[in-house]
Amino acid sequence: MRRTAECPSCGAPVQFAWSAAVQTACPYCRSILVRHDVDLEKVGIVADLPPDASPIQLYTEGVFDNRRFMVVGRIRYEWEQGGWNEWHIVFNDQASGWLSDAQAEYAVSFLATPAEPLPAEDQVAPGKLVRIAGAPFYVTHLTRVRYVGFEGELPFTTADRSEFLTADLRTFDARFATIDYSETPPLLFAGRFTSFDELRLSNLREFEGW
């Protein structure tokens, strides 16, 4: 099911595991490629990702809510206290979501359309109640996030990502949401926390000594 295109920079074949990918990187010349219909446009060169200790890598597979998924891309973010990965995952039915891995604490979320407008950036504060799909979510953490780099296929371009605010929201029943203020209006990602064991991951990285 993988489609192949030609890198406009070096001519190497660039494979797409996900038909709706908007941005990818050429694995040979490391050009950042943005897709316009059938054409690929080179918009830059990928920066080296800092070393990280995630057990997940591109093409790691797993199961979430009885649906199989594969990791096709990643965005690396940093904040004041460390970094984490948002792994772009694609399910068998081509639906895509995000597997977040912060120091081996895992959560899966999906882009959601809020029924009501989300609180503006200057109105969001820890403790604030936000109703999402009728359920109460509470803002627990506000984080200044810095985009560090990416790999693989993404559903959007990372060109305009530098530093932005996110608000983490939690519930009484292990669901969570993130309001991402990198765009206006802000984006909403909603999902729930999960665990390494629950995800039944395969094709993981190995750790020397483990």
């Binding site: 070393p51 200790a53 093409y59 460390g82 120091q103 820890p126 009484f172 094709n203 483990w210």
Partner: protein
């Protein structure tokens, strides 16, 4: 495109301050590493290894589980990569506990806490606990369990070694609150900006020793810890469950006993007795047969009124082979006084002969009445009475004797359970003698 990407073991660092070697175990998670030789806290997230803090060597503590130890807890292998001592003050007296940071590259980070021989295996939680109150005290509900607030204190980090995925500092202070529902404890830490929650489960020291293969035996546990399971609670529950089962059996036995006791009437006859009648007062009844070996109950019903009688009796086998002697005193008095009417005694009495072999029997009866009274009021010294003999009569007193015996174990365990709970809570913010905790040496 499947790549078996192998992450190399982290290279040791050289302390920029003393040149000492610092082993690393947390891969790229490590943000802070401690040089234990010179007690420097280093920023390991940058190549420069900036020294962010020097702390006093005098606070050095040797962890009971050495850094680098691996052990299996809850089905996963964990490596000890960090260690810190945290201290609270209650009425000026410092109390310290130890925290071991555990790491597994796939499952992440956990903690082991240790205080006075009591251990907890702790994980951060990401659902929000919901605040509530139980009997007027603070409490939280988490995953369907209610946790009662135990203690609130300012906890200060007083010693660190190893490595941490966050920035640690000696002297850092948070407000720590513990909520308990043994064997669980839910803890919140507030640093002014955020609340972080974690959940611990009580683990006996010997399980920790086993898990990490440590030599010797774990330090003895003193006192009752906040979330230490109450062994008596389970014993108490079991004892009450057993009591319930025994009570049901008891009731069934009573019902069975009542149902199977024929209580068959063998003999009934009315007599009149006059104390002043001449001659021998003793007589024998006509014989009756006891069909099966078992109990025989002889009932005497009189019409005594402010009077007294004594019955000297014997159940005698017709063939003379055996006899059962017994006597019964019957008195019944009543009247009125300033406090109203009163009565004392009863007009009837019975005698139970526990085991009478089958056969034909008769009764010898010798009634007596007060000769003094008979002398003074001769006409009144008489009575009518009836003798009823039954056999295979239900005897419930044995059952009622057994009932309190059944209660001994559950009541005993309940008292023990309550004793342990009161010891537990005496150490909390709600204890009657909060802060006085030197009673367990």
């Amino acid at each position: 495109m499947v790549t078996a990407n192998r992450v190399p073991a982290p290279a040791p660092l050289a302390c920029p301050s003393c040149g000492g070697r610092i082993e690393l175990r947390g891969f790229a998670h490590t943000r802070t590493a401690v040089c234990i030789q010179c007690c420097s806290v280093l920023d390991a997230s940058t190549a420069g290894l900036k020294v962010i803090q020097r702390f006093d060597e005098a606070v050095r503590v040797r962890p009971l589980i050495p850094l680098g130890s691996r052990g299996k807890l809850q089905g996963k292998t964990w490596e000890v990569i960090g260690f810190q001592v945290r201290t609270i003050r209650v009425e000026g007296i410092p109390y310290s506990w130890h925290e071991y940071l555990l790491f597994n590259p796939y499952a992440g980070f956990r903690y082991l806490t240790h205080y006075d021989g009591h251990w907890n295996f702790v994980a951060t939680v990401r659902s929000l606990p919901a605040f509530t109150s139980v009997r007027g005290r603070k409490a939280v509900v988490f995953e369907g369990r209610t946790y009662a607030h135990f203690q609130s204190a300012k906890a200060t980090t007083t010693f660190v070694m190893g490595e941490f995925p966050w920035a640690v500092r000696v002297g850092e202070t948070v407000t720590a609150d513990d909520y308990v529902s043994p064997p669980w404890v839910l803890s919140s830490e507030q640093d002014g900006k955020e609340i972080n929650w974690s959940q611990g489960v009580y683990v006996p020291g010997k399980e920790i020793w086993q898990a990490f293969g440590l030599p010797g035996s774990p330090p003895a546990a003193h006192g009752v810890y906040a979330n230490q399971p109450n062994p008596h609670t389970e014993k108490m529950r079991r004892a009450w469950r057993t009591f319930g089962v025994l009570l049901a059996l008891w009731l069934a036995a009573v019902v069975l006993h009542l149902a199977t006791s024929s209580n068959q009437e063998l003999f009934r006859r009315s007599y009149r007795f006059a104390a002043n009648s001449p001659g021998e007062h003793s007589f024998v009844t006509e014989p009756f047969s006891v069909p099966r070996t078992g109990n025989v109950k002889v009932e005497i019903r009189t019409d005594l009124d402010n009077n007294w009688a004594y019955f000297n009796m014997a159940l005698l086998a017709e063939d003379g082979s055996r006899g059962f002697d017994f006597g019964r005193e019957i008195s019944y008095y009543h009247g009125r006084d300033s406090e109203g009417s009163w009565s004392e005694g009863s007009r009837s009495e019975s005698a139970m002969l526990a085991r009478v072999p089958a056969g034909r029997y008769y009764l010898r009866i010798e009634p007596e009445m007060d000769p003094q009274a008979a002398f003074s009021s001769a006409a009144g010294m008489s009575m009518n009475y009836e003798i009823i003999v039954r056999h295979d009569t239900p005897r419930l007193w044995i059952f009622f004797l057994a009932l309190p015996l059944l209660l001994i174990s559950p009541v005993l365990h309940s008292f023990r359970a309550m004793g342990l709970e009161s010891a537990r809570w005496s150490e909390s913010d709600y204890g009657t003698i909060a802060g006085v905790s030197g009673d367990d040496e």
